[in-house]
């Protein structure tokens, strides 16, 4: 497995826990999206978050890299609290990749420039190094020929794979996926899932919000089921699907499988 496809190895501290969320509460006007959510994500773990729409799973994911600020509760990243004053939020986010439902590629830049913009501007790489790494990754996913194309010339599946590569080039410790296949045509879903699976097997720490239950079963180390802003049940895929305990999870599984 290629070295870019695995988590950057740093000295293992605090038991290899990357993310720790303690009693996260997120309130929007007239809505409590997250209601006392606590969990831990270990290095190298692939965690899937599933649940009905409006259950707070995307909000939780966005809280983890502070795109949403939690109303209350603490989030720790590699042992340090991040949702407090005086934290270097940009340096923190450079270690946390994010892949969006609607790709959010930069339409005014070519594919190559989309990928190398962040490493260059954050001074993580020199141009030559960034270009050669980006080209290497593009070759791996078979989109090298598209490096000088613009995002609107690509299919949805290609765009999402570029978005994943863009996150990867920052060499993050963890990547957050926010419904990465929900905006794709059915025939494009497979190529994105294949790349994600490759990442998971390569040891990348991943937190994935998705409706692809079958994919979660196949790839996840652990699955969280959320409903009404709470984690209702969690467990290994086996327990999760064979012996669901909570009636809401049973109900959910009966609908989606």
């Amino acid at each position: 497995m290629n070295k870019h496809f695995s988590s950057a190895s740093s000295p293992e501290e605090n038991g290899g826990i990357i993310f720790k969320a303690e009693h996260i509460i997120k309130e929007f006007p007239n809505l409590r999206a997250l209601d006392d959510v606590s969990t831990e994500i270990k290095r190298g773990e692939v965690v899937f978050i599933v649940g009905p729409s409006g259950s707070g799973k995307s909000t939780f994911l966005r809280c983890l890299n502070l795109l949403e600020k939690p109303t209350d509760g603490k989030i720790f990243f590699e042992g340090k609290q991040i949702n407090c004053r005086g934290i270097k939020i940009n340096a923190f986010r450079q270690k946390v990749g994010m892949v969006f439902q609607h790709f959010n590629l930069f339409p005014h830049l070519t594919i190559l420039n989309n990928i190398i913009l962040a490493p260059l501007k954050t001074h993580r790489m020199k141009r030559a190094e960034a270009v050669s790494k980006a080209e290497e990754l593009l070759k791996r996913i078979g989109l090298y020929e598209k490096r000088n194309a613009y995002p609107q010339q690509l299919s949805g599946g290609q765009k999402q794979r570029i978005a994943i590569v863009r996150a990867l080039l920052m060499n993050p410790d963890v990547i957050l996926f926010d419904e990465p296949t929900s905006a794709l045509d059915p025939e494009m879903v497979g190529e994105v899932l294949a790349l994600m699976k490759e990442l998971a097997l390569g040891g990348m720490t991943m937190i994935v919000v998705t409706h692809e239950i079958g994919f979660a079963r196949e790839v996840a180390d652990r699955i969280l089921f959320m409903d009404h802003g709470r984690i209702v049940e969690e467990g290994s895929p086996e327990d999760f699907f064979s012996h669901p305990k909570d009636p809401r999870l049973k109900d959910f599984l009966s609908k989606v499988i």
Binding site: F92, G97, F100, L105, F106, P107, H108, L117
Partner: protein, 213 residues
């Protein structure tokens, strides 16, 4: 038939004399030429100041709207926009010439400042609309990659916003060039003033004004 023809000949002969009187005699076209130069000069530098001011104000205003900080700067910008857009250009020009920059003798400079400040207010709102037209996922994507707010603004949001507002911006600059015609109020000989001078010498209004337009 002949009557019509001779009427036309008469008219064109008149026009020829009028043209000679208004533009050729005493080298009066030089008024227009130097007026044109001054008008373009003012418009060009005012446009530069306008874009600069506009970008600055637009970024401050939209940063305030999105993030919620910069309250004081935002207040200043709002005052600026309200005052400049709420008062006539001529009055602004006179105030700047006679009150604020009364010690300055370079009229072109005064006009450039006045028109620049005026245009900045309009450009600011145009650019702000452009910034708001960019999908908010773009900002999230930039920030999630570890870029700062300012970096995301400069490398991701503004280039897209700029492209979206180019037509409106073009409009604004055409308006600005025409608006410079009021700079005669501070005794600056721009294109309109040049037309006035010719008119006062020849008592003919039609040709000079057409030429100015």
């Amino acid at each position: 038939m002949n009557a019509v023809l001779s009427w036309f000949q008469e008219q064109s002969a008149d026009l020829k004399t009028a043209f000679y009187m208004n533009f050729i005699k005493d080298d009066r076209w030089i008024y227009l030429w130097s007026g044109l130069k001054i008008t373009l000069q003012i418009a060009f530098f005012a446009v530069l100041i306008g874009i600069l001011l506009g970008f600055l104000v637009a970024v401050i205003r939209s940063t305030h709207d999105k993030v919620g900080n910069l309250r004081f700067l935002n207040f200043i910008c709002k005052m600026y926009l309200t005052i400049i857009r709420g008062t006539p250009m001529v009055v602004q020009l006179l105030i700047i010439y006679f009150v604020i920059l009364s010690s300055c003798t370079d009229k072109v400079f005064v006009a450039v400042i006045a028109f620049g400040i005026n245009s900045g207010a309009y450009v600011a709102e145009i650019i702000r609309s452009g910034i708001m037209s960019v999908d908010k996922g773009q900002m999230e994507a930039g920030r999630s990659l570890g870029l700062s707010y300012l970096q995301t603004m400069i490398y991701i949001i503004l280039p897209q916003a700029f492209k979206n507002v180019l037509p409106a911006l073009g409009n604004e600059f055409i308006v600005l060039i025409k608006e410079t015609s009021v700079s005669g109020y501070i005794a600056l000989q721009d294109l309109t003033k040049a037309g006035d001078i010719i008119r006062s010498q020849t008592y003919d209004a039609f040709l000079p004004l057409i030429a100015v337009a």
